[in-house]
Amino acid sequence: MRTVKTSVALFAFWCVVVVPEGGVDLAVGAGAALLVSVWAARFLWPHADPFFSTLRLTRLPGFVVVMVARVVRASFQVLMIVFDPRLPIAPEVIQHRAHFSADVARAAFANAITITPGTLTLDVEDDTFVVHCLDRRLADDLLSGRLENDIERLFHARRTP
Protein backbone atom coordinates (compact mmCIF):
# COMPACT_ATOMS: atom_id res chain seq x y z
CA MET A 1 0.00 0.00 0.00
CA ARG A 2 2.83 2.34 0.89
CA THR A 3 4.48 1.56 -2.43
CA VAL A 4 1.25 2.29 -4.32
CA LYS A 5 0.75 5.64 -2.57
CA THR A 6 4.36 6.61 -3.13
CA SER A 7 4.20 5.75 -6.81
CA VAL A 8 0.97 7.73 -7.24
CA ALA A 9 2.64 10.77 -5.71
CA LEU A 10 5.77 10.30 -7.83
CA PHE A 11 3.70 9.85 -10.98
CA ALA A 12 1.79 13.06 -10.28
CA PHE A 13 5.13 14.83 -9.83
CA TRP A 14 6.39 13.35 -13.11
CA CYS A 15 3.29 14.59 -14.95
CA VAL A 16 3.76 18.12 -13.63
CA VAL A 17 7.45 18.28 -14.48
CA VAL A 18 7.44 16.49 -17.84
CA VAL A 19 3.99 17.49 -19.20
CA PRO A 20 3.50 14.15 -20.97
CA GLU A 21 2.39 14.13 -24.59
CA GLY A 22 0.93 10.80 -25.55
CA GLY A 23 0.88 7.27 -24.20
CA VAL A 24 4.62 6.59 -24.33
CA ASP A 25 5.44 9.44 -21.95
CA LEU A 26 2.71 8.31 -19.56
CA ALA A 27 3.89 4.71 -19.66
CA VAL A 28 7.52 5.64 -19.05
CA GLY A 29 6.45 7.88 -16.17
CA ALA A 30 4.29 5.21 -14.60
CA GLY A 31 7.05 2.62 -14.93
CA ALA A 32 9.69 4.93 -13.46
CA ALA A 33 7.38 5.95 -10.60
CA LEU A 34 6.68 2.32 -9.76
CA LEU A 35 10.35 1.29 -9.91
CA VAL A 36 11.50 4.18 -7.74
CA SER A 37 8.76 3.67 -5.18
CA VAL A 38 9.44 -0.08 -4.87
CA TRP A 39 13.00 0.88 -4.01
CA ALA A 40 12.42 4.06 -2.01
CA ALA A 41 9.06 3.75 -0.21
CA ARG A 42 10.47 1.84 2.74
CA PHE A 43 12.93 4.53 3.75
CA LEU A 44 10.94 7.54 2.62
CA TRP A 45 8.25 6.69 5.17
CA PRO A 46 9.87 4.27 7.58
CA HIS A 47 7.29 4.44 10.35
CA ALA A 48 3.98 5.19 8.68
CA ASP A 49 2.21 5.48 5.38
CA PRO A 50 2.43 8.72 3.47
CA PHE A 51 -0.33 10.92 4.76
CA PHE A 52 -2.86 11.83 2.13
CA SER A 53 -5.83 11.43 4.39
CA THR A 54 -8.95 13.00 2.90
CA LEU A 55 -9.41 15.12 6.02
CA ARG A 56 -5.99 16.68 5.56
CA LEU A 57 -6.50 17.21 1.86
CA THR A 58 -9.80 19.00 2.45
CA ARG A 59 -8.25 21.24 5.11
CA LEU A 60 -5.13 21.98 3.11
CA PRO A 61 -6.55 24.64 0.72
CA GLY A 62 -7.92 26.75 3.57
CA PHE A 63 -4.62 26.46 5.41
CA VAL A 64 -2.68 27.47 2.31
CA VAL A 65 -4.88 30.54 1.81
CA VAL A 66 -4.39 31.62 5.43
CA MET A 67 -0.64 31.07 5.21
CA VAL A 68 -0.33 32.97 1.94
CA ALA A 69 -2.18 35.88 3.54
CA ARG A 70 0.27 35.74 6.45
CA VAL A 71 3.33 35.63 4.20
CA VAL A 72 2.10 38.64 2.25
CA ARG A 73 1.34 40.51 5.48
CA ALA A 74 4.78 39.60 6.85
CA SER A 75 6.51 40.87 3.73
CA PHE A 76 4.46 44.03 3.76
CA GLN A 77 5.45 44.69 7.37
CA VAL A 78 9.12 44.21 6.54
CA LEU A 79 8.63 46.51 3.54
CA MET A 80 7.11 49.24 5.72
CA ILE A 81 9.87 48.90 8.33
CA VAL A 82 12.65 48.88 5.76
CA PHE A 83 11.46 52.04 4.03
CA ASP A 84 10.93 53.86 7.35
CA PRO A 85 13.98 56.04 8.04
CA ARG A 86 13.69 55.36 11.80
CA LEU A 87 13.82 51.59 11.24
CA PRO A 88 11.21 50.93 13.95
CA ILE A 89 12.20 47.55 15.36
CA ALA A 90 12.64 46.28 18.90
CA PRO A 91 13.94 42.72 18.55
CA GLU A 92 13.40 40.26 21.36
CA VAL A 93 14.00 36.56 21.90
CA ILE A 94 11.08 34.69 23.42
CA GLN A 95 10.46 31.08 24.37
CA HIS A 96 7.23 29.54 23.25
CA ARG A 97 5.90 26.18 24.37
CA ALA A 98 3.72 24.10 22.09
CA HIS A 99 2.94 20.42 22.18
CA PHE A 100 2.88 18.28 19.07
CA SER A 101 3.30 14.54 18.93
CA ALA A 102 4.28 14.21 15.28
CA ASP A 103 7.69 15.44 14.14
CA VAL A 104 6.25 16.66 10.86
CA ALA A 105 3.79 18.88 12.73
CA ARG A 106 6.61 20.37 14.80
CA ALA A 107 8.67 21.01 11.70
CA ALA A 108 5.68 22.60 9.99
CA PHE A 109 5.04 24.74 13.06
CA ALA A 110 8.67 25.88 13.19
CA ASN A 111 8.53 26.83 9.52
CA ALA A 112 5.14 28.48 9.93
CA ILE A 113 6.55 30.64 12.74
CA THR A 114 9.35 31.76 10.47
CA ILE A 115 7.04 32.68 7.64
CA THR A 116 4.43 34.53 9.68
CA PRO A 117 4.83 38.22 10.48
CA GLY A 118 7.57 39.31 12.85
CA THR A 119 8.83 35.95 14.07
CA LEU A 120 11.73 33.63 13.25
CA THR A 121 12.39 30.23 14.80
CA LEU A 122 15.91 29.99 16.23
CA ASP A 123 15.82 26.57 17.82
CA VAL A 124 13.50 23.74 18.74
CA GLU A 125 14.10 21.59 21.78
CA ASP A 126 11.35 19.10 22.48
CA ASP A 127 8.33 21.32 23.09
CA THR A 128 10.14 24.60 23.47
CA PHE A 129 10.45 26.86 20.44
CA VAL A 130 13.03 29.63 20.76
CA VAL A 131 11.71 32.46 18.64
CA HIS A 132 13.26 35.75 17.58
CA CYS A 133 10.70 38.55 17.22
CA LEU A 134 11.31 41.61 15.13
CA ASP A 135 8.94 43.38 17.47
CA ARG A 136 6.74 41.88 20.15
CA ARG A 137 3.72 43.77 18.88
CA LEU A 138 4.05 42.06 15.50
CA ALA A 139 4.07 38.54 16.94
CA ASP A 140 0.36 38.30 17.71
CA ASP A 141 -0.25 35.23 15.50
CA LEU A 142 2.19 33.22 17.58
CA LEU A 143 1.47 34.64 21.02
CA SER A 144 -2.29 34.29 20.65
CA GLY A 145 -1.90 30.60 19.79
CA ARG A 146 -3.74 31.04 16.50
CA LEU A 147 -0.91 29.54 14.49
CA GLU A 148 -0.67 26.56 16.79
CA ASN A 149 -4.37 25.84 16.38
CA ASP A 150 -4.13 26.04 12.60
CA ILE A 151 -1.29 23.50 12.50
CA GLU A 152 -3.09 21.31 15.00
CA ARG A 153 -6.17 21.32 12.83
CA LEU A 154 -4.13 20.36 9.79
CA PHE A 155 -2.10 17.56 11.34
CA HIS A 156 -4.39 16.62 14.18
CA ALA A 157 -1.30 15.80 16.18
CA ARG A 158 -1.34 17.87 19.33
CA ARG A 159 -1.24 16.05 22.59
CA THR A 160 -2.80 17.55 25.67
CA PRO A 161 -0.13 19.44 27.60
Binding site: V71, L120, D123
Partner: protein, 108 residues
Protein backbone atom coordinates in the same frame (compact mmCIF):
# COMPACT_ATOMS: atom_id res chain seq x y z
CA UNK B 1 -10.21 39.65 -25.39
CA UNK B 2 -11.22 41.51 -22.23
CA UNK B 3 -10.35 38.40 -20.27
CA UNK B 4 -6.90 38.32 -21.82
CA UNK B 5 -6.24 41.93 -20.88
CA UNK B 6 -7.48 41.29 -17.35
CA UNK B 7 -5.21 38.27 -17.03
CA UNK B 8 -2.28 40.33 -18.29
CA UNK B 9 -3.01 43.00 -15.68
CA UNK B 10 -3.19 40.44 -12.87
CA UNK B 11 -0.01 38.72 -14.05
CA UNK B 12 1.98 41.93 -14.39
CA UNK B 13 0.58 43.13 -11.06
CA UNK B 14 1.80 39.97 -9.34
CA UNK B 15 5.26 40.36 -10.87
CA UNK B 16 5.46 44.03 -9.84
CA UNK B 17 4.37 43.27 -6.26
CA UNK B 18 6.89 40.41 -6.17
CA UNK B 19 9.71 42.66 -7.32
CA UNK B 20 8.72 45.25 -4.69
CA UNK B 21 8.93 42.59 -1.98
CA UNK B 22 12.29 41.34 -3.26
CA UNK B 23 13.58 44.92 -3.26
CA UNK B 24 12.36 45.41 0.32
CA UNK B 25 14.04 42.16 1.34
CA UNK B 26 17.32 43.25 -0.20
CA UNK B 27 17.21 46.71 1.40
CA UNK B 28 16.33 45.03 4.69
CA UNK B 29 19.40 42.85 4.31
CA UNK B 30 21.50 46.00 4.16
CA UNK B 31 19.71 48.13 6.75
CA UNK B 32 18.93 45.66 9.53
CA UNK B 33 21.45 45.61 12.38
CA UNK B 34 22.26 41.93 13.00
CA UNK B 35 22.10 38.45 11.52
CA UNK B 36 18.71 37.60 13.05
CA UNK B 37 16.84 40.65 11.86
CA UNK B 38 18.47 40.22 8.45
CA UNK B 39 17.19 36.67 8.35
CA UNK B 40 13.70 38.08 8.94
CA UNK B 41 14.00 40.28 5.89
CA UNK B 42 15.46 37.55 3.71
CA UNK B 43 13.04 34.79 4.63
CA UNK B 44 9.74 36.61 4.39
CA UNK B 45 10.32 38.97 1.52
CA UNK B 46 12.13 36.47 -0.65
CA UNK B 47 9.43 33.83 -0.21
CA UNK B 48 6.61 36.23 -0.95
CA UNK B 49 8.52 38.02 -3.71
CA UNK B 50 9.73 34.99 -5.62
CA UNK B 51 6.40 33.21 -5.10
CA UNK B 52 4.49 36.19 -6.42
CA UNK B 53 6.76 36.61 -9.46
CA UNK B 54 6.46 32.89 -10.30
CA UNK B 55 2.66 32.94 -10.00
CA UNK B 56 2.55 36.02 -12.20
CA UNK B 57 4.65 34.24 -14.81
CA UNK B 58 2.39 31.19 -14.61
CA UNK B 59 -0.71 33.31 -15.25
CA UNK B 60 0.90 35.27 -18.07
CA UNK B 61 -0.35 34.06 -21.50
CA UNK B 62 -3.08 32.09 -19.74
CA UNK B 63 -2.68 29.20 -17.37
CA UNK B 64 -1.58 25.97 -19.08
CA UNK B 65 -0.80 22.58 -17.56
CA UNK B 66 2.91 23.19 -17.99
CA UNK B 67 2.64 26.21 -15.71
CA UNK B 68 2.12 23.84 -12.79
CA UNK B 69 5.92 23.60 -12.87
CA UNK B 70 6.10 27.25 -11.84
CA UNK B 71 3.57 26.64 -9.08
CA UNK B 72 5.74 23.75 -7.89
CA UNK B 73 8.76 26.06 -7.91
CA UNK B 74 6.80 28.67 -5.93
CA UNK B 75 5.96 26.03 -3.31
CA UNK B 76 9.62 24.99 -3.18
CA UNK B 77 10.72 28.59 -2.63
CA UNK B 78 8.10 29.20 0.05
CA UNK B 79 9.10 26.05 1.95
CA UNK B 80 12.87 26.28 1.53
CA UNK B 81 13.17 30.03 2.25
CA UNK B 82 12.12 29.91 5.90
CA UNK B 83 13.98 26.63 6.40
CA UNK B 84 17.22 28.20 5.21
CA UNK B 85 16.63 31.30 7.33
CA UNK B 86 16.01 29.10 10.34
CA UNK B 87 19.17 27.06 9.68
CA UNK B 88 21.26 30.24 9.38
CA UNK B 89 19.75 31.83 12.50
CA UNK B 90 20.19 28.63 14.46
CA UNK B 91 23.82 28.33 13.41
CA UNK B 92 24.36 31.95 14.44
CA UNK B 93 22.78 31.28 17.82
CA UNK B 94 24.81 28.11 18.39
CA UNK B 95 28.01 30.00 17.64
CA UNK B 96 27.06 32.44 20.40
CA UNK B 97 26.00 35.49 18.46
CA UNK B 98 23.78 37.73 20.58
CA UNK B 99 20.67 39.36 19.23
CA UNK B 100 20.74 43.11 18.75
CA UNK B 101 18.33 44.95 21.03
CA UNK B 102 17.15 48.51 20.85
CA UNK B 103 18.00 49.63 24.40
CA UNK B 104 21.48 48.19 24.21
CA UNK B 105 22.97 50.32 21.49
CA UNK B 106 20.31 52.82 20.59
CA UNK B 107 18.77 53.23 17.16
CA UNK B 108 20.69 51.91 14.19
Amino acid sequence: MIGGVLLEIVAVGLVVVGVAFLLAGTIGLVRFPDVYTRAHAASKCDSAGAGSVLLGLALHDGFAFGDLKLVLLAILVVVSGPTTAHALARAAMRSGRRAWTRDERGPA
